[in-house]
Assembly symmetry: C2
Amino acid sequence: MDSIAGAGGAMSPDHLPDEDVDALEQWWRAANYLSVGQIYLRANPLLRVPLEAGHVKSRLLGHWGTTAGLNFMYAHLNRAIRERRQQMLFVTGPGHGGPANVANAYLEGTYTEIYPDITRDEEGLARLFRQFSYPGGVPSHAAPETPGSISEGGELGYSLAHAYGAAFDNPDLVVACVVGDGEAETGPLAGSWQSTAFIDPVHDGAVLPILHLNGYKIANPTVLARMPEERLRKYFEGLGYAPRFVDVADPRDHAEAHRRFAGALDDCLDAIREVQGLARARSKAGTVPADGDGQPAWPMIVLRSPKGWTGPRVVDGLPVEGTWRAHQVPLSGIHENPEHLAQLEEWLLSYAPGELFDDAGVPRADVVGLAPQGELRMSATAHANGGRLLRPLDLPDPRDHLIPVASPGVERAGAMANLGVWLREVIRLNPENFRLFGPDETASNRLSAVYEATDKVWQAQLLDVDEHLARAGRVMEVLSEHLCQGWLEGYLLSGRHGVLNSYEAFIHIVDSMFNQHAKWLKVHRELPWRLPVASLNYLLSSHVWQQDHNGFSHQDPGFIDHVVNKKAEVVRVYLPVDANTLVCTMDQVLRTRDYVNVVVAGKAPSLQWLGPEAAAAHCAEGLGIWDFAGSEVAGEEPDVVLGCAGDVPTTEVVAAAAMLRADDPGLRIRVVNVIDLMRLQDDREHPHGLTHEAFDAYFTTDRPIVFAYHGYPWLIHRLAYRHTNHPNLHVRGYIEEGTTTTPFDMAMLNRIDRFHLALDVLDRVPGVEERRPGLRARYEERLVRARAYTREHGEDDPDIDAWTL
Amino acid sequence: MDSIAGAGGAMSPDHLPDEDVDALEQWWRAANYLSVGQIYLRANPLLRVPLEAGHVKSRLLGHWGTTAGLNFMYAHLNRAIRERRQQMLFVTGPGHGGPANVANAYLEGTYTEIYPDITRDEEGLARLFRQFSYPGGVPSHAAPETPGSISEGGELGYSLAHAYGAAFDNPDLVVACVVGDGEAETGPLAGSWQSTAFIDPVHDGAVLPILHLNGYKIANPTVLARMPEERLRKYFEGLGYAPRFVDVADPRDHAEAHRRFAGALDDCLDAIREVQGLARARSKAGTVPADGDGQPAWPMIVLRSPKGWTGPRVVDGLPVEGTWRAHQVPLSGIHENPEHLAQLEEWLLSYAPGELFDDAGVPRADVVGLAPQGELRMSATAHANGGRLLRPLDLPDPRDHLIPVASPGVERAGAMANLGVWLREVIRLNPENFRLFGPDETASNRLSAVYEATDKVWQAQLLDVDEHLARAGRVMEVLSEHLCQGWLEGYLLSGRHGVLNSYEAFIHIVDSMFNQHAKWLKVHRELPWRLPVASLNYLLSSHVWQQDHNGFSHQDPGFIDHVVNKKAEVVRVYLPVDANTLVCTMDQVLRTRDYVNVVVAGKAPSLQWLGPEAAAAHCAEGLGIWDFAGSEVAGEEPDVVLGCAGDVPTTEVVAAAAMLRADDPGLRIRVVNVIDLMRLQDDREHPHGLTHEAFDAYFTTDRPIVFAYHGYPWLIHRLAYRHTNHPNLHVRGYIEEGTTTTPFDMAMLNRIDRFHLALDVLDRVPGVEERRPGLRARYEERLVRARAYTREHGEDDPDIDAWTL
């Protein structure tokens, strides 16, 4: 069946000259040889002597199944890049095809440029082979070590989102994204296809998805591979694509396969040029149709090729090529099975290494002649090493966005709303390399001021009722945390900046994506050739203490716990307490590189604590003693330290301190507020950690500490347990007591409210109750009263701050 | 456009008798009235007196936008249930339409049966209204408190997976699943549509998806609502559905809307009967076509209706009905704005409450006449309260599957492979209410023995090369952790049993789904009418210490940390150390109810420690002193306690103890192995926790403890920090040091290997180095030697156990 013609492309399958077929075939054979060599060989890399078991690795690890197909596509993309001088980035979803990425980078010369030890000769080949899946070597999937990669190939599901992220604001780039048919079963990948509703043909580049139907996962067929073609076509047409099907009908007829794929690829690249050309011409002429029915159908390729193509067809009497048995290592037990050894040799020789490499082991010029030059090589493109393209953000002066605070804890303001104004200016100053991502919550999180400067991106139908929707803009909203995170990762790793804003509880949806990105950054930082990229910044609001009608299911502050399990060099956590500390914190984090920054802040109007100068100083230090809230006497140790981190706990601590000071003026209280949570660790554990001496200076060595924390209380113990005064540290936080209720009731349910905190102080500081008999009863009675008010009125007592602060 | 006829259904849109239209309309009006009442009213529930601001809640919370549509569908499903006596379960993805679920349950009488305080009279109505989104009341979305619900409506994305999970092995059930067009943008939901490749028309029930296109999310249009209908149709046809489109062309023409929807619904239910009937007849006759091209197209409905249908059309001059402005509360500021108050009264009166309720406030008989009887009511079905249907598993005697262990630490066996045999028997004994779920990793995790008793479920094309694939079976494999988890949750909450097996690192993909399920269970346990359901059991293998070629990206033991943040009553964590303890542990957890059990075990053959009796006793206690590994003298305190949890750390601890004993026979070592991790907490924190006295008996009050733990080391501190001897506790674990390497090299990189542990003992126990000078240097040299072997040979020294154990 001639699928290419069926797709309506202009190219006939016969358009490819024979010399191009030969060039493609040679490159493909070389890449396949290098791939099989990586999986199997520890010596004799060019098969100069008959293969012996001793030349073969003792542990055979790797994924052959997807590799030959990836090599095939890479060769074809190279041909197209050379013919068109097209900037391309290669994103591989079937990440365990790592041997392919490495093999092609080696053929292009990039591998040796980056890792000079892996020379282009026999010795270098031996090293290249040996390091693969070898202790301390390179993993069997695409990774930061892999030149040209921006997508870790371990956990599946994110390739397409990464590809679109890299394409945004890169109008001249085409991102070829291979989606494995296994990966296509994952939720995040299934959701990523709808990126067609968000990619702007005028200002963005294009993504060319290549769905690789090789039929099988580890041990099962794949859902998409077993769909009748007609259903598959409908599926993708529904999603906004115009698929071109390339079936490898006869796996032995390579020339025919090359002609078909080349035809489809040329057809797709022509179609991309046409889609973009039309949109850009209309944009220039001001004739952009508002009606989304004009949304283009983006080309894509569906390549059906046998799993383990060109590998052993039958092993031990069972079919292998084209089945799931080709998934990993098609031949095993080489050391024990001479037949398998012979079969391996035959397989390797089928690529005719003598024709591919010269006597010194250098790839022959006619083999590598298909490689593009310099930066056009996909293994060398700066788009896959974004630090090379990174321009620092032009950040508005935070001082222009800090609000006056006449006296701490009197006025209320919305921290997120104020930040929205600052972010609006960030967007105005950086119209081409900053985007704000969010799962339909940018307005809900009170950042709407950004819409004074930009719009939300939307390529589908526009209606009169829509507000702030446009074909181009800086705000990306889709109800998928996975897509937001994946787009942002692709955007960052290709050298731009961004923020992901979300509800605190639901950011756990991307826990595993965060893991992979944090691990990527850890390795990336250790590679000198990978230049620093902008940090991944989470701005989490609608947090655990402000869930009102949403209730228990929306109450989860555990993302912080999840984040701090990763390497200290990579993670940072901030809990600003008011409008000014939030602006200062965001200004800090947007300047950082190679981190994951987590910033948690409430969206409801709340009490303001620090004026502009105090906020800047407090954020610079990351924590501080709040003299205005305490009652210390100079030169004396306090009776108790009240610590706090997070906006709601801080309000409760200051209120508890105020009550206690009023009720027992002799009590010496110190209030310590922590913005930069990692300050609580010690300096051997985290670069921001305090020395033991510094911690002692804040928290004393022997006084009781009552600490009110935004999240799960045990995290504070885990951070601070090495410090001297840890035995006296008592922490209140969220203990999974939640329901549909008011913010103050939530505090009471979790015993983090001012009354419980004051009672905690009474429990720990001797003498207060003797001096002030009845104080315990009074606080307990206030608790009862506050609870009753909430149940009676359905809201918190509006006067509660007045009668406690 | 007459979409119904276009779908090829047999019904004409005029088939519905007028009296049915009236009945539907009355029910719908009543449910809408009760919904608006819940959102707004705190008094005057029947509008017996003119509405005053004082009758209206001060905080207005809730989501009107989706609610009217849900009520509309509920009424129609009731008509169909009555006509066909069809068992139905209602799953609502647009979960914030909670007022709808509550309103319909109230009309059906279920609400009052379950919550007798919410009577069917004016007083009860007032309570019903007041509790909604009120402190301590019910959340604004579907929740455990909601009769008839199995799907928490907070975090979006899982409704369709839950629906399919409930349909498995329920051949007479139809699960009507409303998917919101917002939710449809999430990855997990987008991936769930492919469940058509897994639902068996012979032995399973059916899912009837109803995609509810009301056009808008919180602040944006939805992707699916703005797709041209032709693309939407293709999308669903591609996914294996036959969509019926119902457009509410004129929102005021209710009769027409009722006729269209009823026609589509009847058509769908007929089609389900036809699909199932044909498949069942063929199955009975033994003429099942193996070719998946015969996979049926399952009916579904696409309902396009205005957001906030029947609500205010225009507020303050801006359109509301049919726009995103109707998403939450269309009229606000009632207390300050008399115009809004008047508009609210008008809106409420538009439903004519006087016709719906009698003078006492009881819903009139002709209104509630549409309700099905008894268990057929969707709010009362046992399928949504699975504990009522739960039958205990018939479990094979673990003793038949325990292996002899002549001497600890000598023989090797594969714990997961052995468990596979036991699970095979579980499957044989429980052919209708147990399933094993996994993301294509059941074989990779070495559980293949289950295929001797059953197959993997697959409805698509079958080929000769396939193994263990069949139309029916007990194993569900799809490369989507989300789908596995969602299916399992639906299966459990509807009263069955299951296990999810997965790679340890990637189970983080469902962190957030676990959160929601754990929160569901916490609330569920507090509701006496919800009967206990089977626990959700995770069996995690391919763990952090055995990643070989996969490397750093596959190394993450943090799911345990994530799990223990949830309520202690709900979560259990087990780390069996060998084949026998794994079988005993799984036997334990499959007997439990209302928990989440996490079991982590390696899949590689490893040393066996405990024989059948010892393993059973050890698992019953959850931890124990291993005399065979230590060198204590009766009646004396040991010099050091070596603790361990997890299979790899246990091997390292026993080896370290053996080396130390051999090198310094005078050293008194105690080895404590922990299987049930929560035993380390204290008994006030966790039901499994040890008393301080019991902890002291194991770990002493003052001797150094060197503890080797499977996961992140700080978790052990977080669990044990209240115990007496915590200051002397030193923990080794995974510290994010990983790469592509061997298991023993991984242990060394993270300093959890036998040599580092022995050095830790030297650091902490005075006298050893004096007695045995040179010991430190010898251990350090052994480390160097072990590392060198690995780099040289690409594998661990096979003799390492021989020369250390």
